[in-house]
């Protein structure tokens, strides 16, 4: 079921991709007026979004991702900093002069207006002619498969339909960029899965520069060209989804985008990419991941970053065994078997094994050995 017919639209709407640049953006809230006490919603944010790029702002609630979006839209005043679209400074313009598309979390469809009038709203406000409005709205209706819904009121639509109208409404006036504030969070899980791909498809087909706010790491991974991970008003890491997952730059990022094992280790020696490392008393000679070269020195305390699926369970007497332990609990999830292994040093390891026909199921409290690919190792400083 393809709700978004992106290709046909591309022929009719031509949105010129534009860059977005945020420089030194800070937003403060007064805590105690008399004491001059401030709370930072976001602090000193710098971000460049390439023309046509789909970027997600990812982070837990209260991390400031929505604040950034609202600042771009003009719904919040900046405390400091500047915002540029296509090289032009926009942060002094009121929201209604910015020509941006914004999809609200709760859609914010005008309840007293029909689908057609909702879609037509922005062009009407801009004083477009009746024919132009009709033509533009029809393109959107066709693109989003909303034909037949024109005269319905928002409350007569399903959640998914409302979501499509909200998206359509933000696109009718051919906005400079598209902002999306958790656009899928009001839909149920199954539907959300489905729409995720379609949303990305249409955004990429339009080529419009988009900034997408979400707290759902899986959603961010599958939809974005680039992810901006945020924590407490600061940017933790900006990178492509794969790199965010494989090469998180901080413990927070590593944990936020999935389960992770951080094995405490010590660098005994380091020469270029070759390292000698002490893991639980075992000295291992191996190579350092090219992503983190030149960041460590001899005697540094580090974490070896291992995702649960990178572990393998073997016999504890196996030569490849790196850590010995005992199965603490097993969580059988069908395609995956998730183990918690308590190592002999008392650390809990998360291990995720792909369940194939030949996969052995290991019972609780059995003793096992754990191995993982050592070459190269991705390390993280312990103080991150």
């Amino acid at each position: 079921m393809n709700r978004y017919d992106g290709d046909s639209l591309k022929l009719k709407i031509n949105i010129k991709p534009k860059s977005v640049e945020i420089r030194n953006l800070s937003k403060t809230y007064v805590k105690h007026r008399n004491k001059g006490d401030f709370n930072y919603a976001v602090r000193n944010i710098n971000l460049f979004v390439e023309p046509g790029e789909l970027v997600t702002l990812l982070g837990p609630s209260g991390c400031g991702k929505t604040t950034i979006l609202r600042c771009i839209a003009g719904l919040e005043e900046l405390s400091e900093g500047e915002i540029f679209i296509d090289g032009k400074k926009i942060n002094n313009l009121p929201p209604y002069q910015r020509n941006l598309g914004l999809v609200f979390q709760n859609y914010a469809l005008f309840p007293h207006l029909t689908v057609f009038d909702n879609l037509a709203y922005s062009l009407k406000m801009k004083g477009a002619s009746k024919e132009k409005i009709k033509k533009a709205v029809e393109i959107i209706i066709q693109m989003l498969n909303l034909g037949g819904y024109e005269n319905r009121l928002p409350q007569q639509l399903s959640g998914g339909e409302q979501q499509r109208v909200a998206l359509g409404r933000s696109l009718v006036s051919e906005p400079q960029i598209l902002l999306l504030d958790e656009p899928l969070s009001n839909l149920d899980a199954k539907f959300r899965e489905e729409l995720k791909g379609e949303l990305r498809k249409i955004i990429k087909a339009l080529g419009i520069t988009s900034i997408y706010v979400t707290h759902d790491q899986a959603e961010a991974m599958s939809i974005a060209d680039k992810i901006v991970v945020m924590k407490k008003g600061n940017i933790e890491q900006i990178d492509e989804p794969v790199n965010i997952y494989r090469y998180p730059s901080t413990e927070f990022v590593a944990n936020f985008v999935g389960k992770v094992n951080l094995l405490p280790a010590k660098l005994i020696n380091i020469e270029g990419e070759s390292i000698l490392i002490d893991l639980f008393g075992k000295e291992i000679q191996t190579k350092l991941s090219s992503k983190v070269q030149n960041r460590f020195a001899k005697n540094d305390k580090v974490y070896i970053v291992v995702r649960p699926e990178d572990f393998d369970l073997i016999s504890k007497s196996d030569n490849d065994c790196l850590i010995k332990g005992r199965v603490d609990s097993v969580d059988f999830q069908g395609e995956l078997i998730k183990y918690k292994i308590k190592s002999e040093h008392g650390m809990i390891l998360f291990v995720s094994i792909q369940n194939k026909v030949e996969t052995m199921f290991i019972d609780e409290s059995k003793e096992v050995g754990v191995k993982f690919n050592l070459n190269p190792l991705f390390l993280m400083p312990t103080d991150s």
């Binding site: 002069q97 598309g101 914010a108 406000m125 801009k126 409350q155 006036s173």
Partner: protein
């Protein structure tokens, strides 16, 4: 000996068991009896009285009302006053509600409290203030400006009614504005609407039903208002006060009944229409996660103008109250401004019934409140809990009638119905209590039902599964959980009991008098100072009670 004890205990247990199992049926039955005697019977009596005179059935009075030039003029007057008052009050309320929700106002909570004061004091109290300020011997008109204006009549009534009834419209509009989904505003802005276009295309259309509702509310209040027209109307006669005059002045109960009936029909229809508008869940209300609300007006000049207006208006209202106080403590307003407590000593002296009146008011109001509260708590439980009770809607409808019907009509109905066999109760405390209770029950019921609906049904189910019956569940689970609603209902009901006028003016007597009726009498006797003393007392009690409620609510909020 021991056996007898056990026997007694058994009998008691059995009695208790019986009581418990009959709890709901007995509750419903007493309610039906209540409805028949205190709601259906008096209104039917009034209806019969209007069509039955001199031993035969006749439509004489209705024909007379239709053909009488005099009454046509009154009808036009009434409409004119109602429309003007409703328009001005709605406009004023909208301004206040808009400012409160969209503009940064200093001292918002205090101003809000001041604006709501008129809802808890007698609705005709400001007529007294207006006479003191702008009357023939008014402080401003006579003593300061030495004008010879006449505030009695249309202009005075518009002023008095607007001030008395705007808070109801203000409350309605304010809650509507505060609950408008702020994302809609933001969506409009992002989609290219400036603030004015946004207001025109989004905010105003979404508020329209609320504005109409507010207008109708004030319109109804104006049409049914008796106190202000009697005190301040002068030659400007209106329907509701004319009812009073024909009953009290001309002893023509049947004409009064006919006039009351002609008022009941449109007012009751408007009431239910207005209720429909108000209950109509606005689809613009916040659903799911509320977004950050923002003040939309931040222009310094606009904000300053709003602040100035808000403060001036609050000062005006406070002044009106102070005028009552000054009226009570000044020898003769307009002539002799010497400070005196003589009005107090006269009212509360041996020769006057002042103390008695206040005591009566508190006692009768108190009893009516207690009866009404017990009634609404049990009824609320039955209505909320017994979802499938077939007569639920009908019960609710009948109990709401005394709220919809103008107080003056209910008053006549009681005066007629309870003055003959088998209910010869005129002049007794009983009739006063009954009319007060019947009028506060619909209010209390709303409050209690709202509280009860907040109790999770599964909590009650848990109680049943754990072995409690209806009665035990009600006592042990429901009552403690709705304690706050009960307190709110009690204070609300009691405040209304001690400030209401229109319904009680026909049932008070030498034996049992009420403050609001006493104020009216004193004004009619031309003793403004004495009236003001009663005004001060009733205002003081009402404000004190409601302050308790406000602080109690605050404390609750902080604890939560």
């Amino acid at each position: 000996m021991k056996n007898a004890d056990e026997g007694n205990a058994l009998i008691f247990m059995k009695f208790k068991k019986n009581l418990e199992s009959y709890f709901i049926p007995v509750g419903i039955l007493s309610m039906l009896i209540w409805i028949v005697i205190f709601i259906l019977y008096p209104y039917i009596s009034m209806f019969l009285s209007s069509i039955y005179t001199h031993g035969k059935y006749t439509l004489e009075y209705f024909k007379y009302l239709l053909s009488s030039q005099y009454h046509f003029k009154i009808f036009v007057n009434t409409l004119r006053l109602g429309l003007t008052t409703a328009s001005i009050a709605t406009l004023l309320s909208f301004l206040l509600a808009f400012g409160m929700t969209q503009v940064k106002i200093k001292g918002k909570n205090f101003l809000h409290f001041v604006y709501l004061l008129p809802t808890i004091t007698p609705p005709f109290l400001f007529s007294l203030s207006i006479i003191i300020l702008f009357g023939r011997r008014g402080i401003i008109t006579h003593s300061l400006l030495n004008l010879s204006t006449n505030i009695y009549g249309y202009k005075g009534l518009v002023l008095a009614q607007t001030l008395a009834f705007f808070p109801f419209a203000y409350l309605l509009l304010r809650s509507l504005l505060a609950n408008l989904n702020p994302s809609l505003d933001e969506a409009a802005l992002v989609l290219g609407a400036n603030h004015w276009k946004k207001f025109k295309t989004i905010t105003f259309p979404l508020m329209l039903h609320g504005i109409v509702g507010a207008f109708l509310l004030v319109f109804m209040f104006s049409l049914t208002d008796v106190g202000n027209p009697i005190i301040l109307g002068g030659d400007y006669l209106v329907w509701a006060s004319e009812i009073y005059i024909s009953v009290i002045g001309q002893y023509n109960l049947s004409l009064g009944a006919a006039m009351a009936l002609t008022l009941i029909i449109p007012i009751t229809a408007l009431f239910f229409f207005q209720k429909y508008l108000e209950d109509k869940k606005s689809f613009a209300m916040i659903t799911g996660k509320p977004s950050q609300s923002k003040l939309s007006i931040e222009t310094p000049l606009v904000s300053k103008l709003f602040n100035l207006f808000f403060i001036l208006f609050a000062i005006f209202i406070i002044t009106l109250y102070l005028m009552i106080l000054s009226g009570a403590m000044t020898k003769l307003i307009g002539i002799d401004y010497t400070f005196t407590l003589v009005h107090f000593s006269t009212i509360f002296g041996r020769a006057s019934r002042g103390f008695g009146t206040i005591k009566d008011t508190l006692i009768l109001g108190g009893i009516a409140t207690v009866i009404g509260t017990i009634f609404v708590v049990i009824l609320g439980y039955i209505l909320v809990r017994k979802e499938n009770l077939p007569a639920k809607k009908i019960l609710d409808f009948f109990l709401t009638i005394p709220l919809a019907v103008p107080g003056v009509a209910t008053g006549i109905a009681y005066a007629i119905g309870f003055n003959k066999y088998p209910f010869v109760w005129s002049g007794t405390a009983f009739i006063v209590i009954a009319i007060l209770a019947v009028r506060v029950i619909p209010y209390g019921l709303r409050v209690i039902i709202k509280g009860m609906k907040q109790i999770d049904v599964s909590i009650l189910d848990a109680s049943y599964i754990l072995g409690a019956n209806d009665f035990n569940t009600f006592i042990k689970i429901v009552l403690p959980l709705i304690k706050d609603s009960i307190i709110a209902s009690i204070i609300y009901s009691f405040t209304r009991c001690i400030t209401t006028l229109s319904a009680v003016i026909f049932v008070v007597s030498i034996n049992w008098d009420l403050v609001s009726a006493a104020i009216l009498n004193k004004v009619e006797e031309g003793k403004v100072g004495h009236a003001a003393v009663y005004g001060v007392v009733v205002t003081f009690i009402a404000i004190a009670l409601n302050l308790i409620l406000v602080t109690y609510g605050r404390k609750k909020e902080i604890e939560a």
